[in-house]
């Protein structure tokens, strides 16, 4: 056995057999892509800034106080000196400078940007992550399992069971349980009898409802159409109005109202890839559906999703800004890039830095992620590797 191992390790150490792990392989190609590395670095800097900002701007006596109002110092341009005569000692900013100027209430824009970075970046990322995950899941289902059928009884009892659950949650416990229990019984009955004992329940009453109504594809794509019918901003407004204002709610809601584009992308890719020979080959070799989806189709389908999601981040940051502006987003004293931007737009000619600074920050964040995303796409696609 020992000698055998010896031979093996020699065998693989041969220079003609370069054997690297996936990650090493990936990194070796990725690091040649200068733009992508620049994007990654820039993004890392932003992320670190956001993290430090989180600590330096919060607490009882923060180093940078984003909420400190100095009305006598309003609309100061960037890099202007603080006026020591009119300020109390504890109101003087770090270095005695307004690095990025002050806004219409004399608040230090640098401190506000610093504080807002974390919220804006996380809103952007988490929201896009949610939307991409939901989109890939729905699109993948529609594309891969699209030709399977939804049965009327399954639909009906599922909807009933869900409404039962909601009623219970809302408070009408008795009615909710009365609706929920029979549905549960129905499913358990069907699954246990049909799967385990192979008894056909079809003969009985349930047979009347056991009809194919439409395909999974139709179901999912109609849901997408319905979601797209609503102007998404107003959809978000409606939901936000019902829920308590918090950053997490905003992230989730933005994510859950923007997955439709991704779904369409992913579905289209899946449809065209599903009938390719390499997928057929995988099926014929007995490779499981899940493995086919994640190892064979997904890597080939992910590129457009990756690129569109980088733009999605910008949209999410701006949507958050809009919501904050209308008072539905992050509650006012807390700064985000979005609400600095929208607060500043009234002073576009008097104090252009109020709009340009957060705007440029968003631009750079999005650009860096975009470069990273494209680099990732090129690296993941072996055919594009040589062009780097």
């Amino acid at each position: 056995m020992m000698s055998n191992n010896q031979i093996d390790s020699n065998f693989f150490d041969e220079p003609s057999f370069p054997r690297r792990t996936r990650l090493q392989d990936f990194w070796a190609v990725f690091k040649k892509n200068r733009l992508a590395i620049a994007g990654l670095l820039m993004f890392g800097v932003f992320f670190l800034a956001a993290l430090t900002g989180l600590f330096l701007t919060s607490g009882h006596k923060p180093v940078f106080d984003p909420a400190l109002v100095r009305l006598q110092e309003k609309l100061r341009p960037p890099l202007s000196k603080a006026n020591y005569e009119t300020l109390r000692p504890d109101e003087i900013p770090v270095l005695g400078l307004y690095l990025l100027g002050t806004d219409d209430l004399g608040r230090d824009v640098f401190a506000r940007m610093f504080q807002g970075a974390w919220v804006s970046l996380t809103v952007g990322f988490v929201a896009v992550m949610i939307s991409v995950l939901v989109g890939i899941f729905m699109g993948g289902m529609a594309g891969y399992f699209g030709d399977r059928h939804v049965y009327l009884d399954h639909m009906l009892f599922l909807v009933l069971a869900l409404s039962g659950l909601i009623m219970t949650a809302v408070g009408q416990i008795r009615e909710g349980v009365i609706i929920f229990i029979p549905c549960l019984v129905y499913f358990v009955f069907k699954i246990i009898l049909e799967r385990s004992y192979k008894i056909k329940t079809r003969r009985w009453l349930a047979n009347l409802l056991h009809k194919k109504i439409f395909s999974v594809d139709t179901l999912i794509m109609r849901i997408v159409d319905i979601m797209l019918c609503f102007p998404s901003f107003f959809l978000i407004l409606t939901v936000v109005a019902l829920l308590p204002a918090s950053i997490y709610n905003i992230m989730i809601i933005i994510g859950l109202t923007s997955w439709m584009g991704t779904t369409r992308f992913v579905r289209a890719e899946f449809l065209s890839l599903k009938d390719q020979d390499f997928v057929t080959a995988a099926r014929a070799l007995g490779i499981s559906d899940l493995r086919i989806i994640f190892r064979h189709i997904m890597p080939n389908a992910i590129a457009p999703v990756l690129v569109s999601s980088t733009i999605g981040i910008a949209t999410a940051i701006l949507t958050e800004a809009g919501l904050s502006f209308l008072g539905f987003g992050v509650p006012p004293p807390h700064a985000t890039w979005g609400n600095i931007l929208s607060d500043g737009k009234g002073f576009l000619f008097d104090a252009p830095w109020l709009t340009f600074i957060p705007g440029i920050a968003i631009l750079i964040a999005v650009l860096s992620f975009n470069l990273f995303g494209e680099g990732l796409r090129d690296t993941l696609n072996p055919k594009l590797r040589d062009r780097v």
Partner: protein, 330 residues
């Protein structure tokens, strides 16, 4: 049928296989009719045999292959692999079946996943069926690569770095990775140019001998099949019209369609050149096949009976079967 003689050797037995595709149209997707891609096909393949299935494009050759491995749902009929009823098999048996039967596809450009390395492409089925892993898997893949005439150095390369012939070798390597009993080659050389075709065919031939493989070889080129197969079945519009041992079929085709196909094989030696027999007209639409013998509108020997009665397959001795009312006799 002819397979009944020594049942023990029979590895694949296809009985009255029919695969119909519904034609749907209109708002309610009403089924207007069926495309009978495979219409009552029966054949059996013995252990170690190379069985050729020929016919022009669209005659249902590939559908037969796809139905046999259950990529397409059979409308009617049975497929037995050894003793396994493939069409009604449950998940566990199908898993076992998939281990023992593999496919080689026509297009080497779309049959390999562009995002996977050669090592992964070949190794994945081995891993999925838990035959080998780790170093053992690596060695196995390297070994198979060498068997198909590729250097094991290629193990970390991607498919786009290879030429068509090399890709087809990778495809074959993938099919061999599980040590299958039956390999179904769906026009494995049609997409390659002639010199490469010969290489791949020789490779298949060598491998077949080496592993004692059983092959179901699908092609539209009789010249290819002649070189390669023990038994040949000729398909036309979803039906098998003639089946015989390769040499017998070439020496003495009974069916006019086979005769026409034979005459299309290019002959180098001018003295062997026969007169070209070109069937009249076009292949009829498979959605709307002619009555009676499917070949009768194009057959130069057709008589009235041919357009009325569908000819049954009849044995003419030596396992030579043909479906024709007026088989050729020379």
């Amino acid at each position: 049928m002819n397979g009944k003689r020594n049942d023990k050797d029979i590895i694949l037995n296809v009985v009255n296989l029919k695969t119909y595709f519904p034609v749907k149209a209109g708002l309610w997707r009403k089924t207007l009719g069926y495309i009978k891609a495979v219409d009552d096909v029966s054949f059996s393949i013995r252990q170690g045999q190379v069985f050729g299935l020929v016919g022009e494009s669209g005659c249902g050759k590939s559908t037969v292959a796809r139905t046999v491995v259950r990529l397409e749902k059979a409308t009617f009929g049975k497929v037995y692999f050894n003793d396994l009823d493939v069409i009604n098999a449950d998940k566990k048996d199908i898993r076992e079946f998939r281990r023992n039967v593999s496919l080689v596809f026509q297009d080497p450009y779309s049959s390999l996943n562009p995002r996977m390395t050669v090592g992964n492409i070949i190794g994945e089925p081995v891993k999925t069926h838990k035959i080998a892993k780790g170093e053992e898997l690596y060695e196995k893949v390297a070994d198979i690569l060498e068997r198909v005439g590729l250097s094991p150095e290629y193990i970390n390369r991607y498919p786009h770095e290879f030429s068509g012939g090399q890709r087809q070798r990778i495809s074959i390597a993938r099919a061999l990775a599980l040590n299958p009993e039956l390999v179904i080659c769906d026009e494995p050389v049609s997409a390659l140019d002639v010199s490469i075709q010969a290489q791949i065919l020789n490779l298949l031939k060598d491998i077949q001998a080496e592993f004692d493989l059983t092959l179901l070889f699908i092609a539209h080129d009789l010249a290819v099949v002649q070189f390669f197969c023990d038994v040949i079945a000729v398909m036309y519009l979803g039906k098998i019209v003639e089946q015989a041992e390769s040499r017998v079929l070439y020496e003495r085709p009974f069916h006019p369609y086979t005769e026409a196909l034979m005459s299309a094989i290019p002959q180098i030696d001018p003295s062997l050149r026969k007169k070209r027999v070109v069937p009249k007209g076009e292949v009829p639409s498979i959605a709307n096949p002619p009555s009676g013998c499917p070949f009768h509108p194009r057959c130069r020997y057709a008589q009235e009976k041919c357009s009325e009665i569908v000819p049954e397959l009849e044995e003419k001795g030596d396992g030579h079967i043909v479906a024709c009312h007026f088989p050729l006799s020379k």
